[in-house]
Symmetry: C2
Subunit: 168 residues, 2 copies
């Protein structure tokens, strides 16, 4: 099948906003986003990822992939306690972060006239796994870089979110 050429970049902004807000309010961590790019390979990888499916006016999926070091910094800030390994608490936190990013982005999309529902999030854990969204539509990826953390600084550590919305 031919790839659809474009995805409306306006649909991405709510996910960027939501990610920055959730990091700040839940994990007391500032971050900034780099420019979105079209993902033409399934190169996004991480050590812990949250994935959530979207349905409604369009089908979609959102993934949030963290290297181990980045998520340990974020969850340490969230809990105000130094976390040193990816355990069940970290996985639950990734699920919650994914859920909240999806929820806030959907709220902003609703205001733009697109109504979406979320499925149950899943969290994948495993050194250097890759995630591939099964779609013929474009997938947009955004890398975030951490700034200050209230408890622990992870300045420069990065993570990536990927969004696909099969917009008709």
């Amino acid at each position: 099948m031919a790839k659809k050429e474009k995805m409306d970049f306006n649909l991405i902004q709510p996910f960027i906003n939501a990610t920055l807000t959730v990091l700040k309010t839940m994990a007391f961590t500032e971050a900034h986003s780099k420019p979105p790019y079209l993902k033409d390979q399934n190169t996004a990888n991480g050590d812990v990822s949250g994935v959530i499916g979207l349905t409604g006016d369009s089908s979609g999926s959102l993934s949030v992939s963290f290297p181990e070091k980045t998520i340990l910094v974020i969850v340490s800030n969230m809990f105000g306690e130094r976390m040193s390994q990816v355990d069940d608490e970290i996985k639950d936190a990734v699920g919650e972060i994914t859920n909240m990013i999806s929820g806030q982005a959907r709220q902003e999309l609703e205001g733009m006239g697109m109504s979406l529902e979320s499925a149950i999030p899943t969290v994948i854990s495993g050194k250097d796994h890759t995630i591939k969204h099964i779609t013929t539509y474009p997938i947009l990826a955004i890398t975030f870089s951490l700034d200050e953390g209230e408890f622990l600084s992870g300045q420069g550590e990065e993570f990536t979110i990927e969004v696909c919305i099969e917009e008709e």
Copy 2:
């Protein structure tokens, strides 16, 4: 949050039926299912997994996790050609298998009065990753064991599906 005690086992049968049918019709591979069990740890792991979110009358998620050896046998039968490594073709096949299991199961559930929609499937690849469904509801797991394959026999090789439906 307290776990809900029960999940209706009747909701699982359509996923078992769909898995057996999809394997047989798409991959010319017979399999049989072992008894479903409640998953109380996130122990299900695999080397390649398909994950799909469900929404509608209930929220849910379905994952299908294959060890490398099992998926190589299945896709070899599907293509009639010996596959020797997990590449992009294998990942796409896992996406398609996941999508079709979800589609057939949803069709049977529809007949039982439960209407669900599917989100975009994602495929995770990475040696021995684990999958955790973020829910307070029970998660049911079913292990399947391969019997005959038309092209390649993988008798005894196993894989596992997990289903969660947040039934009110």
